[in-house]
């Protein structure tokens, strides 16, 4: 009798434990692709740079992209680090980028893929993520081929490298537009080999006034001309430009000795001078920052009006500009610096006022000035 009672009690305890373990467990967010969505906006050139590379949870990827669509942005730039997906030569893992791309497409967004970040096996020990010796350019070409092949029909725009005119982004080696052009030549050929329709974006140069020979980088205007001198015109379809406004208004006139939003017009002039006026430009990074103490920060209302003004400027006056994609929509976690003041949404998905105002503009409910 005692044994039977113990068994009965044991079973009851087991049932309670199982209920506690599974039945009372809080529901986990269930992320599915969901129905096909479309971006509703008065300005189809609106985009925003997302930061989903290190976002692990699928529901957060989906929520980010839903909020981008709901804001009225049709384009995203997302970073796809080579080192993450080809940890060993020739062994690719596309599971995470598949999530990002498929959710983005389901939200009706056009993905612009930034490619870079050298895996350890393709660079010398002790070097940084942006160090790539010419001996390994072919390895990068293989990755570009694999990426474009895998995402054929899903990703139509790829950016080759990021800000190669900065030492930081060029493995702390002396920057060299001819070397970048050599890399571009290989990447372009392999991309077109995988998908002739894919659009290859080059440049993505950092706006900087650094003179030739400066250890930290090279003036973007000089660098672009250097690329043309090295024959880059044959190896890209679209120029990627970074357009940061720093403390200047959106309509501040461009000048070679000034970093402002319209500096991109000077890049455009160089393209025209080199017979590339038929190619479009895409602003794949840029915008304003409203950190209260950062030396290049502006007031929050300025960031809002300048950002909306930038979208409007591209739509109204820049027929050569495909999209304006400011940096950055949301970080998975705080950067703990002025960088957090570039974002439109907090890591907890709380929209900042700029999100609300841009959304209002995209819906035609407010003008540039409010």
């Amino acid at each position: 009798m005692v044994t039977a009672r113990r068994v009965k009690v044991g079973i009851q305890v087991l049932v309670i434990v199982l209920i506690m373990a599974f039945g009372v467990r809080p529901p986990q967010p269930l992320a599915t692709l969901g129905p096909q969505q479309h971006v509703e906006t008065i300005n189809p050139k609106m985009g925003v740079h997302t930061r989903l590379t290190d976002e692990v949870e699928e529901w957060k990827i989906k929520r980010t992209l839903e909020m981008v669509r709901e804001m009225g942005a049709a384009w995203i730039v997302e970073y796809f680090p080579w080192a993450y997906y080809e940890r060993d030569k020739g062994a690719y893992d596309w599971s995470h980028p598949d999530l990002v791309v498929d959710h983005a497409r389901r939200q009706g967004l056009t993905v612009v893929a930034r490619l870079g970040y050298v895996p350890e096996w393709a660079r010398p020990e002790g070097s940084t993520f942006s160090h790539l010796d010419p001996a390994h350019y072919a390895d990068f070409g293989d990755f570009v081929y694999a990426f474009v092949d895998h995402f054929r029909g899903r990703v139509q725009y790829i950016i080759i490298w990021n800000e190669p005119n900065l030492g930081l982004e060029w493995g702390f080696q002396p920057v060299n537009p001819a070397e970048y052009t050599a890399l571009l030549r290989i990447a372009y050929a392999r991309a077109k080999e995988a998908d002739p329709q894919v659009q290859v974006l080059a440049g993505a140069l950092a706006p900087t006034l650094a003179p030739v020979g400066h250890p930290e980088g090279m003036n973007d205007l000089d660098y672009l001309q250097g690329m043309y001198d090295a024959g880059a015109a044959d190896y890209f379809d679209v120029l990627a430009a970074h357009a940061y406004g720093w403390k200047f208004p959106v309509d501040d006139p461009p000048a070679a000795d000034k970093v402002n939003f319209r500096r991109v017009e000077l890049l455009r002039e160089i393209m025209v001078r080199n017979g590339d006026g038929h190619k479009p430009v895409m602003i794949t990074e840029g915008g304003w920052n409203d950190h209260p103490r950062w030396t290049k920060g502006v007031r929050p209302y300025q960031r809002i009006t300048y950002t909306i003004g930038a979208y409007e400027l591209a739509a109204r006056d820049w027929d050569w500009c495909l999209a304006v994609i400011p940096y950055a929509f949301r970080f998975p976690w705080p950067a703990r610096s002025y960088q957090d003041y570039f974002t439109f949404v907090t890591p907890e998905f709380k929209p900042k006022p700029i999100y609300r105002e841009v959304q209002s503009y995209a819906r035609g409910e407010r003008g540039v000035e409010g």
Binding site: Y301, W333, P353, E357
Partner: protein, 260 residues
Amino acid sequence: MTGRTIALTLAVVLVLTVTSCPRLGGKEDRSLLKVQEVGVLQVGLDASYPPFEEIDETTGEIRGFDVDLARELARRLDVEVEIVNSGWDGLYDALEANRFDAAISGLVYDPWQTDRVAYSISYFNVGQVLVVREDRQTIAQVSDLQGRTLGVELGSEGDVQGHVLSKRLRDLTLRSYSTPAEVLSAVSQGEVDAGLVDAISARQFIRAGGKVRIVGEPVSDELYVVAVRLEDKALLQAINAALVEMRDDGTLVRLADKWL
């Protein structure tokens, strides 16, 4: 209470005592002793944030609320103060690299930084405050805003808080302005019933003769704190004790009244 319970309680008390006491539980914390032995409290700040810290163009000296606070803290620790001007973005790095003992630079309490620095209690709250025209008596707190018009700075924390309030209060109308000064002018001219701005802007406007006053409790908190290295518990305790004294004897209020 059983003997086992008593033993467990004693063990917990012992662990808490050991871990909270700077002189027990492993390596001795010499942070306060070091400051006292050298006789100098080195304070880091970025002198580009008036009136909390700025360089006096006439004398070239760094002055401001935080400088006075640092001096007063040092005086209460019975040491001299040395001000170290350091770039804003690198303040925490410089603190960790022992460039100075404490950072006092209009630093807002940031929970994301608490794995690298320890914060003192707050010495000033620069959060959003409700402001009304000086002669207006009908609004004493946010709940009185029902059916009113509230001015906010577009894109600011006041804007965020204003939208939160507009969902909670019936018929609250928001009106956006470009700067806190514009909000405050609109309040003083009766263009809006009230404004929501940061405490610094509000106090500076009042100090300059603006006909407005702050009512009720702050609508949001943005707490200025002193940061020290995570392991410098003894120094932190001494700073906290001094700040409590300064709060209780009115020194913090006097400093705020002097600079804001």
